[in-house]
Structures are given as structure tokens and as C-alpha cells.
């Protein structure tokens, strides 16, 4: 069924607050520029661009310090459309550029010259839709294996049976050319390639990094993704909104509740359902606990990467206590499926507040201990200080978010700056940020966030009042046709959900903007000049979750 992009409702005059920006976009060659209602669609400005004017328009945005949040490919049948989502820092608008290309040619100019961070996103669109990006430096499959000859997110793809060719039982050819290009090969060849992963203890899952090294110094490196690609976005186009809930847990299994909330919020923005006050408080408590649990896993595994084993066990011990609470409140330890449109699935048990406040008291003591054992440790400082510096410019260009962004001195947190929950405005807390941009700064931001989360949980517990935990939700859940975007702040950064609905029970296209994707992309820029041991340190400090990236 062909789907026309929704006609944009003009917003009332006094609300259109970015006339200057709209004017500049028009001048650069954008057509059909209009402003949208943020509360309804999650976007402020919408602009149609031609392939010729795309780079010019994007340059305007780059000068305005917009960061590229994600690319969304859509099969509009018959033509393809690629949406470029931009975000300005702090109070600035969210801008959506739309570029169209027809099915036969399927080509668009690359944006990598303007935004370095467009690199992987374009490769993903190339994977999923077969859209070619002219002059892209290395347009190869990103998530799919190199032997597949299909584009799964095209609407006319229906899961053709795949035969793995005999020769791919071997690990595919190393991508020597691309790696050589990165390194400055000298006449005397003492350089070689080091293949890290997919089974490597410190790639946090099944990431593969091909390093070009000389001795232990790294000349360059390339990430190979997709070893955990599970086709979640295609599955979403076949599942009802209600049925998709369990899949949101499994994207980022360390903070499933934050993903639950993001998805629930998307549906709430789209349908206008509102959750109850008690549910809102519960959401904040559970998500902050989830953030604590997630950061604890980060701390443990990071130290494991740096060679210390004991902090890992301490952190897991504390995390177990949080998981016990999750299990008692939601019914599962990790894949909670707890937060749904209109509230939460069930009310919590009677000693909930008591247990949590006790846990938070212990947590404060533990944080002091971690500070002594880990963050203050001289060896830890040596391994992290001035290692892997992400400059604020790089962070914005690549769309880095979460603690990695705040570690680079950009003070942005969706909880405060795009409050998706009233409670975050009422509670007393602050957004920690550091200016170093190195692994140490990122670590310290996370440690400070742990403390702030404890603060938030303790205050939110006081606001917990009796009442229903779920508002009335229609039995057959349908989302009115339209395009919606919602943003929440997960432990790793901004989780964005872009939904194109056609009015039925099933999404037409659901795109998840995952924080780790953009965060990991910087690693290729950070690696040259460091040492093998530093790569481990940098990767650990970025705190990536591979299934979240691969989806």
C-alpha cells in the first residue's frame, strides 16, 4: 500500500519560532520548509531538499552547530526517501530534511563531506534499501554479511531464503585496502593488521575492529558491525504495536526499562494517551534504577578491560540487588517489558519504597568505595587521563550523546533540556559534565551520574502517591497515520524512536536511533596514534552495547 508523506499542518503563527532558520534553509535550496508542532510530532522544522541542494542545506545546519542525530530510510513505494534528523544543542530546534530518490536510480549525494558522522548511517541505508550514496568513501555493507544480495527493509522484500555460499565458512577477507588508506604507510613495512574480534574479551560483544598497527602503535582502524544484527526494524513492520514491546527490551539489555519508556512515549505522543501520575513516578524510579544498574555494568566491565577483575564482581553484586527489585516489581530480571503506553503494566509490591531507600543508602556508601578503589587509583588515572579525547566539535559532528557528550564539555541532557517527564523538572538534581573529553572525563561523568540517579530515586520515592498505574487504553491499539519522533535519555545517550504510521495496528516504518551507534563511530577517529591497550580503554569508556547498534 503506497503511503504519501503526511501533509504538514501549519502551526499557529505565534508558535513558529524559527523564522530565521527557515529563511536560511529556503535560501540554501530547500523546498517546502515548514514548522511542525513539537508536542505532536517531536520535530520543529521540516524541509524537503533536492539531491543537489542537500549538502548546501546541511552546511547551513552545521554552521549552526546542529548535530546529525540519525538517518531514516523509508520505502515510500515507489520512491525511496531518506530523512536526515538534526538537533541543535540545548534549546534549539529539531530539524528534519527529506530527500527523495526514485526506485530505479536510487542514488543520493553523500553527506560525509559535511558531516563525518553520516558515514555509517549512509552505509546502513545502503544496506537496508540499496540507496547508493555518490562519492561515499567506502560504501560497503555495514550490518549485513557481504554475501547477501538483498535489501531487507524494502517493502517488496519478504524474507527470501538465504543460502550461505560454501566459501564464507571462512572468515571473510580482511579489509586491507580500507585499513591501509587510513595509515600512512612508510617505505619500510613494519606495519601489520591486527584483527580484534568478533570473539575478543574487550569488544563488549561481537564487534570486530581491524587495526592497522606498527608495533603497538595504531595507525588506523575500522569497525565491522553486524555480527549481532537481528533484523528488529523489519520485524517491527510485521508486529502489532503491543507485540513489539518485548523486542524493545532486547535492544539494550542493560537498560531495558529506558527503551520501554522510549517506545511507550512514542506511542503516547502519537495517540495522545496520557499516563497516570503514579505511573510517571514509577517510571522515573525504575528508569533511574536501570541507569544505575547499567552504569554499574559499565564500571565493572571497564575495569575488567583495564585488567582489574575485582570491581567487576563488586559491581555485579550491587547490580543483583537492583535486579532483585526489578524482578519483584516487573516479573523479570532483565527483559522487563514493564513500561507501556498509558502507564506501567502492574503496580509495585508493598515494601517497594522501603527496599529501594535502603538500597540507595547502601549505594551511597558503595559509591564512595568505588571512588577510592577505582577512580582515585593512580593506575586507573594513568590509563584514562588524556586518552581518547573527543573534542566538542567532533562530538557534535558525529551526534555523540549521553555521558560521552557530557564528558566532552557539551552540557546537554534530554531529561533536563527536552523534559519528557514533568517530574524531572520538579526534582532537584543537576547534570554532571566534564570538559576533558578523555576516558577519565567520561568515567567521572558516569560516576557523578550514579550519584545523581541515587538522588533522583530518593526524591521520586517521596512523590509516590496512591492511584492507578495505567490509564484506559483501547483494546485494539491503533496509531493515527502520521510521522512521530520521540526522544528519551538512556544511560548511553539519546534514544530516539521515529515512527511512520499508516493508521493500522502495525507500524509502517519504525526506526530506532540508538546512542551507541554514534558513540562508537567516533572510535575510528580516536584510534590513530594510540596504542593497542588504549583501544581497549577507549572502547570501554564509550560503553557500547553491540546488539543495540546492530539491532
Amino acid at each position: 500500500m503506497p503511503l504519501e508523506p503526511e501533509a504538514v499542518e501549519p502551526v499557529a503563527e505565534q508558535k513558529a519560532v524559527y523564522p530565521e532558520l527557515i529563511e536560511r534553509l529556503r535560501k540554501a535550496g530547500a523546498t517546502e520548509v515548514s514548522s511542525l508542532d513539537y508536542s505532536k510530532s517531536g520535530m520543529d522544522v521540516d524541509a524537503q531538499v533536492t539531491p543537489q541542494s542537500l549538502c548546501a542545506v546541511a552546511s547551513i545546519l552545521k554552521h549552526g552547530h546542529f548535530s546529525l542525530e540519525t538517518l531514516v530510510g523509508v520505502d515510500r513505494q515507489p520512491e525511496f526517501e531518506v530523512l536526515y534528523l538534526f538537533k541543535a544543542d540545548n534549546e534549539g530546534p529539531r530539524v528534519k530534511l527529506r530527500a527523495k530518490t526514485d526506485r530505479e536510480t536510487a542514488t543520493l549525494p553523500t553527506l560525509t563531506n559535511v558531516y563525518g558522522g553520516a558515514d555509517w548511517y549512509e552505509r546502513e541505508v545502503f544496506d537496508m534499501f540499496g540507496v547508493n550514496f555518490i562519492d561515499h568513501p567506502h560504501l560497503r555493507p555495514l550490518l549485513l554479511p557481504h554475501f547477501t544480495k538483498f535489501h531487507p527493509l524494502r517493502k517488496d522484500f519478504h524474507g527470501a531464503p538465504i543460502v550461505i555460499p560454501e566459501d564464507t565458512v571462512e572468515i571473510p577477507e580482511l579489509d586491507v585496502q580500507a585499513a591501509t588508506k587510513l595509515g600512512q604507510s612508510t617505505g619500510l613495512r613494519s606495519d601489520f593488521f591486527l584483527n580484534m574480534g568478533p570473539q575478543h574479551p574487550s569488544t563488549h560483544g561481537v564487534l570486530r575492529i581491524l587495526l592497522h598497527v606498527e608495533g603497538e602503535t595504531i595507525l588506523g582502524g575500522r569497525c565491522h558491525l553486524g555480527y549481532s544484527h537481528r533484523g528488529t526494524e523489519k520485524l517491527a513492520e510485521k508486529k502489532q504495536y503491543v507485540q513489539f514491546l518485548p523486542y524493545t527490551d532486547r535492544m539494550d539489555y542493560l537498560s531495558p526499562l529506558n527503551y520501554n519508556w522510549g517506545f511507550a512515549r512514542l506511542l503516547e505522543t502519537a495517540t495522545g494517551i496520557e499516563s497516570t501520575p503514579r505511573a510517571e513516578v514509577l517510571r522515573v524510579i525504575m528508569c533511574e534504577l536501570s541507569r544505575i544498574a547499567s552504569h554499574l555494568v559499565w564500571l565493572g566491565t571497564y575495569l575488567l578491560d583495564l585488567g582489574a577483575i575485582t570491581p567487576f564482581l563488586y559491581c555485579f553484586e550491587d547490580r543483583e540487588r537492583i535486579l532483585t527489585i526489578f524482578e519483584r516489581a516487573t516479573g523479570q530480571r532483565m527483559t522487563t517489558s514493564y513500561i507501556v503506553a498509558g502507564g506501567v503494566r502492574n503496580d509495585v509490591y508493598s515494601t517497594f519504597s522501603l527496599e529501594i531507600s535502603e538500597l540507595m543508602r547502601d549505594m551511597r556508601k558503595r559509591l564512595v568505595e568505588y571512588d577510592k578503589l577505582v577512580i582515585g587509583n593512580e593506575i586507573f588515572l594513568m590509563r584514562t587521563d588524556k586518552v581518547g579525547i573527543i573534542s566538542p566539535e567532533l562530538a557534535i559532528e558525529y551526534g555523540v550523546s549521553g555521558p560521552c557528550l557530557r564528558g566532552s564539555g557539551v552540557d546537554y541532557d534530554a531529561r533536563r533540556d527536552e523534559p519528557y517527564c514533568e517530574l524531572y523538572k520538579e526534582l532537584e538534581w543537576k547534570v554532571p559534565f566534564e570538559t576533558g573529553g578523555d576516558c577519565l572525563s567520561r568515567s567521572r561523568v558516569r560516576m557523578a551520574e550514579l550519584e545523581q540517579s541515587v538522588n533522583l530515586v530518593e526524591q521520586a520515592l517521596l512523590k509516590l502517591e496512591d492511584g492507578p498505574v495505567r490509564s484506559k487504553v483501547p483494546k485494539i491499539f491503533k496509531v493515527p497515520a502520521g510521522e512521530y519522533y520521540s526522544v528519551t535519555e538512556g544511560p548511553r545517550g539519546i534514544i530516539g524512536w521515529y515512527l511512520i504510521a499508516d493508521g493500522s495496528q502495525i507500524p509502517y516504518r519504525l526506526k530506532v536511533r540508538v546512542p551507541s551507534f554514534a558513540n562508537l563511530q567516533t572510535v575510528e577517529q580516536l584510534m590513530p596514534g594510540t596504542r593497542v591497550a588504549d583501544v581497549v580503554s577507549i572502547l570501554g569508556s564509550l560503553d557500547v552495547i553491540i546488539p543495540e547498534i546492530d539491532r
Binding site: 524482578e327 516479573g331 523479570q332 517489558s337 582515585g376 593512580e378
Partner: protein
């Protein structure tokens, strides 16, 4: 920023040793699993079972197929329904595949007659995949010990 220096660094190393030394006298966190059962939450979403009625072979289930339709992972592969004398639907075959189940609990939520419930079994393990397809229509109350997949040898023998 943390002040860096030789003595501070040396001190921090000693502090670290102090932390681990203190932990040596801390409480042991281990649950000795096969000897001591791991506590499971009362609302834990374990493998799904059908609640049997007083009268044998009569279940609360009315064969509405809502659970089969809502299951996101198609973990209810067989649910055959027949009509009895009173022209009422009842299930004659009901299979749940624990290998496919993602324990989301949507089937339990959606059931209009509350015929399905979660068990609190948290330690399933099977030696073959076919054992994980459970015919739940005539299944008794299952527990961790008589779960059909387990060989019941959970007590570890000492050497």
C-alpha cells in the same frame, strides 16, 4: 580535576588495597544454588501453564485463541479447539514451546478467563530441544524439580 603526584599516587594504591582488605571480612554474597534454592519473585514470569479446574479435563480455557494471536514469538504452535455438547468451545490440544517463548506475559495478560498463569520455575535446562515443547493441557502442577526437561539430578555429587 584530581591532583596528580607521586605521593598521592602511592597513597591511592594503598587505599585501593585497603578497600579490598576490608571486603575480605565482608558478608559472603553467594547463594549455594543446588543446595539452597534461589529465591524467585512471586510475580516472576516463568514458563506458562494452564490452570486446571476441579473437574478433570475441564479447563477455564474457552478456546478463544487470543493468546495464540497476541504471542509475539509464535510460541503457541498448537491450539486446537473443539465444541462440546453445549456448543461451547474447549481446547483439545494446547502446546507451548518454551524454546520460542520470550516470557513477556502478553498471553497471560490477554486471556479473558484467566486460564493461563506463570509458574515460578527459574532453572530449566533440557538435553534436547524437543523436550521443550510442552503439552500443557493435561499437565499437572509443575515445579522446578518435576519440570519435564530436567533429569532430576540437581544435587551435585562430591568427588
Amino acid at each position: 580535576m584530581i591532583e596528580r603526584g607521586f605521593w598521592r599516587g602511592f597513597g591511592s594504591l594503598l587505599t585501593g588495597l585497603g578497600v579490598t582488605f576490608k571486603r575480605m571480612f565482608g558478608k559472603n554474597a553467594t547463594i549455594q544454588y543446588p543446595h539452597v534454592p534461589v529465591p524467585v519473585s512471586p510475580i516472576y514470569r516463568g514458563p506458562v501453564r494452564l490452570i486446571a479446574e476441579e473437574v478433570a479435563s475441564e479447563h477455564k480455557c474457552i478456546g478463544c485463541l487470543a493468546c495464540q494471536r497476541i504471542c509475539p514469538t509464535h510460541a503457541i504452535p498448537i491450539l486446537t479447539v473443539a465444541k462440546n455438547e453445549q456448543n461451547k468451545n474447549y481446547p483439545v490440544d494446547f502446546v507451548i514451546d518454551d524454546a520460542l517463548c520470550c516470557f513477556c506475559g502478553l498471553c497471560v495478560d490477554v486471556c479473558p478467563t484467566e486460564a493461563l498463569e506463570h509458574t515460578r520455575i527459574g532453572d530449566m535446562a533440557a538435553t534436547s530441544q524437543s523436550l521443550l515443547r510442552r503439552e500443557i493441557l493435561h499437565e499437572g502442577a509443575i515445579t522446578s524439580d518435576n519440570f519435564p526437561t530436567s533429569t532430576g539430578k540437581k544435587e551435585n555429587k562430591h568427588v
